[in-house]
Symmetry: C2
């Protein structure tokens, strides 16, 4: 029979078992963190009616959509988790309790040009808090705490959450009389880190901003230092524009609670250059930078928006949310050598290698160990000793039990710690407690290895 070459599509990540274990642990850590903050899990279809998914229409994204017909239905694969959330909340608004806090970790699809580190199928891990008509700014203050706890739990150390407020920027541009150019200016200053201040100035002039205004803008966004000094610098502009003052108040609220939310100073900064490209942000915006890898860009971004679902409902649904591009993050971490290869990625805690024809005792022992919540594999192939122990070794299983005639006669087992090489003989009914204790002693390792 002629064989079809087994392969995956370009731009689709697929992992080998040990890597998959690390990825699963990242997902589990995010779920756990999001749950700690009272977010509820959500799952929406991967396929939506094109009319629904593309209600907003236009833009770069639409070209990348996986869109097709089935029967007479015009269908599309979701390209993010925000549009399905908007659809979900609008559709089920009557059955939800607001503020509605949900997390969703799932795959999305974008037919981008294939290139290294870019994926066409990738996981996003999103949280959003959706209010009904109103949503207090305290929700915006809570977000950095979630980002901080998630990445810290994952093992990341050297990162910084940078926040800004779109009202501050919009208010400032209004003070300069540049309201009609605010969107363009914001997209320009958002590029500051990539292209530098001179180039930003140049682009601003091209937008029709005067040299004087351009200088005022670059001076303004260059304000740096700790949060308190940035806030103080902002105070100098107060009293000229309502939106600006409101933004400065919001930013002050966010900063005021950082310490109580458990975010240390060194992991948090106000950065007036953060604008985020998307037009729909209206308040606090977030980016998260790996300090040693700024070239990667933001690994967790988001912000406050005032109208989540305007394409589906008249109900005003303001919210705040963040998103982690998990597949890309995982790729980058691997690329930087930051995945913890010491992390226990074996499919089992223990493997039983029976050395006798009768499997009865081995089966009984496996059952006992599983009842004690020890992940146990029973090796059943009729192979030589070397092949059996080689199997356990290749999988990286930490404990191996040999069960031979002698052991069975004595009611004992030989247990080998594969890391230390130490081998002990134990009464069969003490194995579960012994291994459980050893497993508990193991240092809890994080998935990410950061200095």
């Amino acid at each position: 029979m002629e064989k079809i070459k087994p392969r995956t599509l370009s731009g689709f990540m697929e992992l080998l078992p040990a890597e998959q274990m690390l990825f699963e642990q990242m997902v589990a850590t995010l779920k756990e963190t999001y749950s700690l903050y009272g977010f509820t899990p959500l799952d929406t279809p991967l396929i939506e009616a094109s009319e629904v998914l593309l209600a907003k229409g236009g833009g770069e994204t639409e070209k990348q959509i996986y869109r097709f017909t089935k029967g007479d239905a015009d269908l599309s694969l979701r390209f993010d988790l925000t549009v399905p959330l908007a659809r979900y909340v609008a559709q089920h608004a009557g059955e939800l309790t607001f503020p509605f806090r949900r997390f969703q970790i799932g795959k999305v699809y974008r037919g981008e040009r294939a290139q290294r580190g870019r994926f066409r199928e990738f996981y996003q891990a999103d949280i959003d808090i959706i209010g009904d008509e109103k949503l207090d700014v305290m929700n915006e203050a809570e977000i950095p705490s979630i980002i901080y706890r998630a990445f810290t739990k994952l093992g990341l150390r050297r990162f910084r959450i940078r926040v800004n407020n779109r009202k501050v920027l919009n208010g400032f541009f209004a003070i300069l009389g540049l309201t009609d150019k605010a969107g363009d200016i914001m997209r320009t200053i958002d590029k500051l880190e990539k292209i530098g201040a001179d180039k930003v100035c140049e682009l601003l002039l091209e937008l029709g901003v005067t040299a004087e205004q351009a200088k005022q803008i670059t001076d303004f966004i260059s304000v740096s230092g700790d949060s308190a000094s940035v806030l103080e610098a902002l105070n100098a502009y107060r009293g000229q524009n309502e939106i600006f003052d409101l933004g400065a108040d919001e930013l002050a609220t966010v900063i005021r609670h950082m310490k109580d939310f458990g975010v240390p100073d060194e992991c948090f900064a106000v950065d007036l250059t953060i604008a985020r490209g998307l037009d729909y942000y209206t308040g606090t915006v977030y980016e998260t930078l790996m300090l040693d890898h700024p070239e990667i860009g933001s690994i967790c971004s988001g912000g406050r928006y005032d109208n989540l679902a305007e394409y589906y409902t008249d109900r005003k649904l303001p919210g705040v949310g963040i998103s982690i591009g998990l597949t890309r993050l995982f790729f980058v971490l691997g690329d930087q050598g930051m995945l913890n290869r010491e992390y226990p990625a074996a499919p089992a805690d223990l493997i039983i290698l029976p050395m006798t024809d009768s499997m009865t005792e081995a089966v009984g022992l496996a059952t006992t160990l599983r009842e004690a919540c020890i992940r146990t594999q029973l090796y059943s192939e009729k192979k030589k000793f070397k092949a059996k122990i080689g199997y356990a070794d290749k999988l990286g299983v930490p404990f191996v039990i040999f069960l031979g005639e002698d052991e069975i006669a004595n009611g004992t087992v030989s247990l080998k710690d594969m890391k230390s090489g130490e081998q002990v003989s134990l009464p069969m009914d003490e194995v579960a407690a012994y291994v459980s204790a050893k497993l508990k002693d193991q240092k809890e390792l994080a998935v990410i290895l950061d200095k």
Copy 2:
């Protein structure tokens, strides 16, 4: 602005938050169970090249495929998790360790005719053990134990795992000289439960089986009773056909270890009528029946096969696997009133309702509770007391903390147990320990409610 009606496609399940929590718990329980048996998690792309996915070709399934083009690529959504597994194992064989034990829980797509309880997007939860050239029958013996533990942990009580062996059937048909009709006969007797013995007999005659042979077949598959008596009945046919004898041996091995694997007699039966429609099964086959709802059909099925990936590789990869159609099972359980509505489905263990303008103390308390692993929501909206407590009540959060001027002045909190209505005053630094203890005391509930 004209609104687009928010909606999901027909045949696509989408759950409200409380139901989603139950579903997530089902998935978590299955993951935990599969891990206990040393299976490693796997994740493959939802989209594959059509040439790869449809290598086997033909059949009912192909018509149901979601197939489309993107650029010049001919793509299809996966319709099960077995074909992607075959592709994965063939593609990565050199990097895997055999026997390779993997589980995968993911969505698959079939454009079936829409009808109640049938889904076009649904979760499958699969495990498979893949050997390289060989795979010992003990792996087949272990499978019922996994099914038993999974469903028991989910809360199901009244179910039975029924096994048969295709070699026994094939061998028996060979003894009757009906080898060339074996496939058709098997598909016919597989319908026994649906259509009854008379109709089966009729269909057998239509296949060209003689009346005498038809009687022998229906007599044979009607053998019932406990495992030991079925085995004894099979012994009467021994010595006439090698395949039959091998099958009887395999069945004996599976049965011999059931008790040691922890499967009680009442949850297990040999049933010679179980044939499974699919041709590629070659040894033990499994079905799982809810005793009070036989009309639902098997909720977990699978079997032994000898050649997983023949369309992709010359390497012989025998295996054994089972699959749970999770979305349909969830739907059926809901339909039968068997989802446990007492199961804690709130997004948080505790909610803090601040009664003061300052949020500082509330934020600090939330941080402390989260550090103690208590899922805590901080309510930040400026609403009246009634609206605040109504929010906690609607979400079903078990504990509520009121934090007012008096409490803050005294360094205490008022904690209300929403179920008992009991309210206590506690020093702020004792809250975490108190609530943790209360949460631990809560009876562990299962997702499924079975008598």
